[in-house]
Symmetry: C2
Subunit: 109 residues, 2 copies
């Protein structure tokens, strides 16, 4: 609860808020994690370092299969996970570069 005073000596022009592109990129990654189910899926895949097939659907309780499938698609399109067809099932796993990128951009804030 400390005070908060403006310092007019600092010029705004001299402050870079990073490239527009990076901001957009971070916003997209964050949007992908802007839903509890997607956070849960990502964590699940991080912890089970080998990948998980469709039982993700069972883990995410209270959501229909089609809904979970949508969430998986969002994570995949954002580059945070990867899916590979394994017979009749599909095997999802972390896309490490995506997660790394997220961490870098967050650190950049």
């Amino acid at each position: 609860m400390d005070k908060c005073h403006c310092d007019p000596s600092e010029k705004y022009d001299s402050i870079s808020t990073g490239s527009k592109e990076k901001n957009r990129e971070l916003a997209l990654l964050c949007k992908a994690l802007a839903h509890p189910a997607r956070v849960q899926i990502l964590k699940l895949l991080v912890r089970k370092q080998s990948c998980i097939c469709g039982e993700i659907v069972d883990q995410i309780e209270d959501l229909a299969q089609s809904t979970v499938s949508q969430h998986l698609k969002i994570l995949k399109d954002t580059g945070l996970i990867r899916g590979e067809i394994e017979g009749t099932a599909v095997c999802y796993c972390i896309e490490p570069s995506g997660l790394r990128r997220l961490r870098v951009l967050i650190a950049d804030i």
Copy 2:
């Protein structure tokens, strides 16, 4: 592009994806950053360690004053920034605990 095989030996029950509450919390923080303008505002306030009054509106080009105000409100409600009335202006600054929390939860993934 390495292979991706399921390991049926790992039991899903034994894997914790963190408390539902934490997942929800991270999702909310991420949602707050799920828009480029909000990312930009946050970065601006981090870099200018003393706070900035309404010129944020000028920095965020192409958005109306009322829209920027909405974004500021979202960041404030999420606990990432703080606003304090300073005469007729309002002075925004980072809420360090919020950003710290975000970093912790991201690291937790």
